[in-house]
């Protein structure tokens, strides 16, 4: 072993790696500085569970739903693996959001860490992209309708919106092409992107060093515990607690799988996954010509605001108590997002009137000019079985 290390040491900058790992942190930090590591753990968890789920999943409207059912019902540990992936996705959104809040609250985005921040904002969008492309895959009611609405929201982009919707859907409507696209984006494109961005993010974090709490004096910035093993141990404890929670959820809370997607469902009330409810709710407030506000203008402004935050707020880092404006804006934004999410979750569902019986197309042949015999006009005729 020693000889192997000696061999590698002669050929690689191992000492440099060791120095990097043991680099001292700022004197004052707290457990909130483990949120980034928790997000990294979740990414690895999603990659591993996702890679295994792909063994059984089949991205086609004919098979997707049954495959997910099969994974959940029949494959040993299938419900657990799917549970981890599902709850891991929700946890990712929560942890990434808290991570962002920590950075905002402590002003960690300020110079010289602007690039770390910008890459982080892009990573947040990638996480949401993972969510959006991921939950179409089970091909149940929620998957289908959330994607109908979500791809249509993209259509609100002025001028090119309709084309964007069609490109996302791979045609006019959600179907086989949409599913393979979303699968490719979810399992190939976004992972490549996320690896590159996380690599960059981590490089910046190492390069500039941990930001620590604002109260660190310049002398204290390098006067704390070494990253390894001290910070890594704290991170490991935080990750362990997170994992216990996720494993508990995966074991005891079944992942929902609704009825298979049905484009004519008479009684379905489309609702997105919880982390898109705030956007869903936002869309209800803008009527008529203003609909572009909720779907495009406001989200774009928020993203731009986030990206350029370090350049808009260039004052030196101070403790939060001395930044009343930042504190107010941040708190209001969080409260607003939480309220919109709750309202979206509670938004009233429509009652289906019992009198509204569905009538199926009342003849055997379509697209032909021949007249069907009158006696095929049975109201409950099931056209799918009939053909």
């Amino acid at each position: 072993m020693k000889r192997i290390i000696a061999f590698l040491d002669e050929r690689l900058p191992l000492r440099e790696l060791e120095t990097q790992l043991k680099k001292p942190l700022p004197k004052h930090t707290n457990w909130l500085f483990s949120l980034g590591s928790m997000a990294l753990f979740l990414l690895l968890l999603q990659v591993v569970t996702g890679a295994f789920l792909a063994f059984y999943y089949s991205p086609s409207p004919d098979h997707a739903y049954d495959a997910v059912n099969y994974i959940t019902q029949e494959v040993p540990f299938g419900a657990f693996v799917r549970g981890l992936h599902h709850w891991g996705a929700s946890a990712m959104v929560v942890i990434v959001f808290l991570h962002l809040l920590r950075v905002v609250i402590y002003g960690s985005y300020k110079a010289p860490r602007e690039l770390t921040w910008i890459v982080g904002v892009v990573l947040l969008l990638v996480v949401l992209g993972f969510g959006f492309t991921g939950y179409l895959l089970p091909w149940d009611g929620k998957a289908y309708w959330a994607t109908v609405v979500g791809t249509k929201v993209a259509g609100m982009v002025p001028l090119i919106g309709e084309t964007i919707t069609k490109i996302l859907r791979g045609g006019e409507e959600i179907g086989a092409v949409t599913l393979t696209r979303f699968y490719a984006i979810h399992t190939i494109w976004l992972p490549f992107l996320v690896f590159a961005l996380v690599g960059l993010h981590l490089f910046f974090v190492r390069f500039y060093g941990s930001s620590g709490l604002p109260k660190n004096t310049p002398e204290e910035m390098q006067a704390g515990k070494p990253f390894y093993p001290h910070q890594v141990f704290e991170d490991a404890v935080a990750i362990f607690i997170l994992f216990i929670v996720l494993a508990g959820l995966a074991l005891f809370v079944p992942v929902p799988l609704e009825e298979i997607a049905n484009p004519t469902d008479a009684s379905y009330d489309p609702r997105p996954e919880w982390y898109f409810l705030f956007l869903f709710q936002l869309l209800t407030y803008f009527e008529g010509p203003l609909e572009v506000m909720g779907a495009f203008v406001i989200p774009t402004l928020v993203i731009l605001l986030l990206v350029f935050l370090p350049f808009l707020d260039r004052r030196e880092r101070l403790s939060l108590r001395k930044r009343p404006v930042a504190l107010t804006i941040t708190s209001l934004s969080v409260v607003l997002i939480v309220i919109l999410t709750i309202l979206g979750g509670r938004s009233p569902k429509l009652e289906t009137e019992p009198s509204q019986a569905t009538v199926d197309q009342a003849q055997e042949s379509q697209e032909t000019q021949e007249t069907a015999p009158a006696d095929t006009g049975v109201f409950d005729f099931n056209i799918e079985d009939g053909q």
Binding site: K166, D265, A266, S267, L283, T284, E353, V359, E367, Q387
Partner: protein, 162 residues
């Protein structure tokens, strides 16, 4: 420019090499990029062929009041021949003067539902409300419900489908 012992390291030589790298890189990117972009977005550019699909027999639909009709028709979904399902409201304004409303909400494509007691179409997503003529009464939608082109032939009601 020919490489000679004299011109190695000369600025002209260097700019020639830089230009060459950019040219080769650009050419390859272009030659691969254009087909790939076309490959990816082609389904969006394809025009669906409109066709007439029968909804039901006129005699059975006469006197209909916002009757929800589900119908299927053969269509291509990528590489799959499928029975596309669709759902519309058919109403008879008097003696076979039919109106067929698409159920697709003009806001974000959720399916609206006819509410008989209110006499309105309600959208389950963002609270869009349309009156019995399909005009927007409340909520986010900016356009009325689509009235599908229709025709009656040999006692059968057809609508035009994309």
């Amino acid at each position: 420019m020919k490489r000679t012992p004299e011109n190695i390291g000369q600025p002209e030589r260097r700019s020639f090499l830089k230009g060459g790298i950019a040219f080769i890189g650009g050419l390859i990117s272009f030659a691969i990029g254009v087909p790939l972009i076309g490959f990816a977005i082609s389904p969006a550019l394809k025009k669906g062929s409109k066709k007439w699909v029968d909804v039901g027999i006129v005699d059975l639909l006469k006197g209909s009041r916002y009757k929800k009709i589900n119908y299927t028709f053969q269509s291509k979904d990528g590489w799959v021949e499928i029975n596309k399902k669709r759902s519309v409201y058919v109403t008879d304004k008097g003696d076979g003067d039919f109106v067929v409303f698409s159920r697709v909400c003009t806001h974000l494509n959720c399916l609206v539902r006819w509410n008989e007691s209110k006499g309105q179409f309600l959208c389950p997503c963002h609270g869009g409300v349309f009156d019995k003529e399909g005009n927007v009464v409340a909520g986010p939608p900016s356009r009325p419900l689509e009235r599908m082109p229709l025709k009656v032939e040999d006692g059968v009601l057809y609508v035009k489908e994309a």
